[in-house]
C-alpha cells in the first residue's frame, strides 16, 4: 500500500501492525512531517524475513527502513524522523533542552508505567488482578493529568499549540482505551477524575494526525479477540509489537 509523497523522503518503508501503539505513534510522526512511505503490515504470529532481518535483536515492529537502513524502537524512530526532517513540517521534540528532557521523561513514564498497566487489564487472569491493574492505570493517569497541567502551560496540547512528542506517545494509546471501555467497561480517562486529559483526548481526536492515522476502535477489538484465542504463553507486549 503506497502513500503519495508530499515531501521527498528517499525511500521510506514502515513495517508495522495497524493497531500497535508503538506503530501508530511512528505513523503520526511521519504524517506530521508530511512524509510518504510504503506501509507493510506484519503478521506477528508468523514473522516475515524482512522483519527478522531488519530487527534481528528484538524481531518487533515498528521498523522504519530509510534508504535500506533499518531504525528500530519507536521512540528512537520518532527522534530520527524529527532530526532527519528537521527542516520539514513542525518539530516533534521541543527545542529547549529542559523541555525536551521533560518530554522524554513523560514518554518513558507513559511506556513503562501506563502501558503495562492497561495491557494488564486486558490479560488479567482473575478479577482481583484486573482490579489491581485498573488501579495502577488510574494512578498513572493521575500523574499524567498533573504532567499535562505543567507541560501544556494552558495551551491545548502537551507540546503547546500543536501536537508533539508526548502527545503522540500518549495519543497512540488512546484507541486501546476505547477498546478497554467497549470490552471491559473500564474508563481510563474519566472527565470527573482527569478533566484536563479528557479535554485533551477530544482535541487530539480532532487533529488531522489522529484522523488520518488512528484505526477504528473495532479493529483493535477484533485484534484483541484474535490475541485472546492465540494467547498460549506469549505476552501481550510481544503481540502488540
Amino acid at each position: 500500500m503506497e502513500n503519495k509523497t508530499m515531501a521527498r523522503a528517499g525511500s521510506l518503508k514502515l513495517l508495522g501492525l495497524t493497531v500497535s501503539p508503538f506503530v501508530v505513534r511512528v505513523r503520526m510522526a511521519l504524517q506530521l512531517k508530511g512524509l510518504g512511505y510504503e506501509y507493510i503490515e506484519q503478521d506477528l504470529f508468523i514473522k516475515g524475513d524482512l522483519l527478522l532481518m531488519s530487527n534481528p535483536v528484538h524481531k518487533k515492529v515498528p521498523v522504519l527502513i530509510h534508504d535500506g537502513k533499518p531504525i528500530c524502537e519507536s521512540l528512537a524512530i520518532m527522534q530520527y524522523i524529527d532530526e532527519v526532517w528537521a527542516a520539514t513540517g513542525p518539530s516533534i521534540l521541543p527545542a529547549d533542552p529542559y523541555e525536551r528532557a521533560d518530554a522524554r521523561f513523560w514518554a518513558a513514564y507513559a511506556d513503562s508505567k501506563l502501558l503495562p498497566a492497561w495491557v494488564g487489564i486486558m490479560w488479567a487472569a482473575t478479577e482481583e488482578e484486573r482490579v489491581e491493574k485498573v488501579e495502577d492505570t488510574l494512578k498513572a493517569i493521575g500523574h499524567l493529568e498533573e504532567a499535562f497541567g505543567k507541560c501544556s502551560n494552558g495551551k491545548p496540547f502537551f507540546a503547546g499549540d500543536s501536537v508533539g512528542y508526548l502527545d503522540l506517545v500518549l495519543g497512540s494509546q488512546l484507541l486501546w482505551f476505547e477498546a478497554l471501555q467497549k470490552m471491559f467497561g473500564v474508563v481510563v480517562i474519566e472527565e470527573g477524575k482527569a478533566p484536563l486529559l479528557a479535554a485533551w483526548v477530544k482535541r487530539f481526536g480532532e487533529t488531522d494526525t489522529a484522523k488520518e492515522v488512528v484505526p477504528d476502535v473495532d479493529t483493535a477489538v477484533e485484534y484483541l479477540k484474535k490475541l485472546q484465542s492465540h494467547r498460549a504463553g506469549a505476552t501481550v507486549a510481544q503481540l502488540l509489537s
Binding site: H66, C72, E73, A76, R100, H143
Partner: protein, 236 residues
C-alpha cells in the same frame, strides 16, 4: 566549567544509574555538587524533585529537576558547551538512533536480567536471569563491532551514550564476577567487549565516577544478607 552552572546531583554511590549520570559530566569536564542520599530515609529534596518515582539520580540544574538517567545524560550532552568535550551522541541521525537503540537494550535486557540474577526469588529465576544476562552480553559484543567501526568505543573514536550506559554498570558487573566466579566479559567469547572494559576503566572520567569494586562487593553482600534475613523472618 562556566560560572553559575549550578549543577547538583542527588544520588547514592551504589546506584549504577547514578554512576551513569556522574560519567557524563566527568567526560565533559563539568563539575557538579554531589548530594548523597540515604535511600532508606529519602530526603525532602529527593521526594519533591522526583515525586513520580522518588528515585535517584536526579539532576538539579539551576534548581530545576531532570530525572531518569538516560534523559539526564542526553540533557547534559545537549546543554553543555561544545567546548567542554565531544558530544556523547553522533551528529549523524542514523548513528544517534542506533545509539539510542542500544542504550535502551542495555537497560531493558542487560540490567533487567542482571537484576533478576541477583534478586530473583527462586534459584530458578536467578539462573534464568544469569542465562539471559550472558545472552545480552553476547549481543552487545555484536553491537560493539557494529558501532565502533574498528575504533575503541561504541561511540567510535571517543566515548558515547552507549559507552556511558554500559560503563556505568562496570563496578557492579565486576563485583558480580568476583562473587560468582563467572566471567561476564570473557576475553575468548567476547574479545571486543573484554578489551573495551579495560580501555574504559583506564579513562580518567571512569576512574572518577565508578565506585570501588571492593566497596560494591561489601555492599552487595550486606544487601544479600538483609534479603536473606527478611525472607527467613517472613517464613517464621
Amino acid at each position: 566549567m562556566a560560572a553559575g552552572d549550578d549543577l547538583k546531583l542527588i544520588g547514592a554511590w551504589p546506584s549504577p544509574f547514578v554512576t551513569r549520570v556522574k560519567l557524563a559530566p566527568s567526560f565533559k569536564g563539568l563539575s557538579f555538587e554531589n548530594v548523597e542520599e540515604d535511600i532508606s530515609n529519602k530526603s525532602e529534596l529527593l521526594l519533591s524533585s522526583n515525586p513520580v518515582h522518588k528515585k535517584v539520580p536526579v539532576l538539579l540544574h539551576h534548581g530545576k529537576p531532570i530525572c531518569e538517567s538516560v534523559v539526564i545524560v542526553q540533557y547534559i550532552d545537549a546543554w553543555a558547551d561544545p567546548g567542554t568535550g565531544p558530544s556523547l551522541l553522533s551528529s549523524d541521525p542514523h548513528e544517534r538512533a542506533v545509539a539510542r537503540f542500544w542504550a535502551a537494550y542495555i537497560d531493558d535486557k542487560l540490567v533487567a536480567s542482571w537484576m533478576q540474577s541477583f534478586r530473583g526469588k527462586t534459584e530458578e529465576e536467578k539462573s534464568e536471569g544469569t542465562k539471559q544476562m550472558f545472552a545480552a552480553v553476547e549481543t552487545l559484543e555484536g553491537a560493539l563491532r557494529e558501532c565502533s567501526k574498528g575504533e575503541g568505543y561504541f561511540g567510535g573514536e571517543s566515548v558515547g551514550l552507549v559507552d556511558v550506559s554500559l560503563g556505568s554498570l562496570l563496578s557492579w558487573l565486576k563485583a558480580t564476577e568476583m562473587m560468582s566466579g563467572a566471567k561476564i566479559f570473557d576475553p575468548v567469547k567476547t574479545p571486543l567487549l573484554a578489551a573495551w572494559v579495560e580501555r574504559f576503566g583506564e579513562l580518567d572520567g571512569a576512574k572518577t565516577a565508578l565506585p570501588d569494586v571492593d566497596r560494591v562487593v561489601e555492599f552487595a553482600k550486606m544487601r544479600q544478607a538483609q534479603a536473606a534475613a527478611a525472607a527467613a523472618a517472613s517464613e517464621n
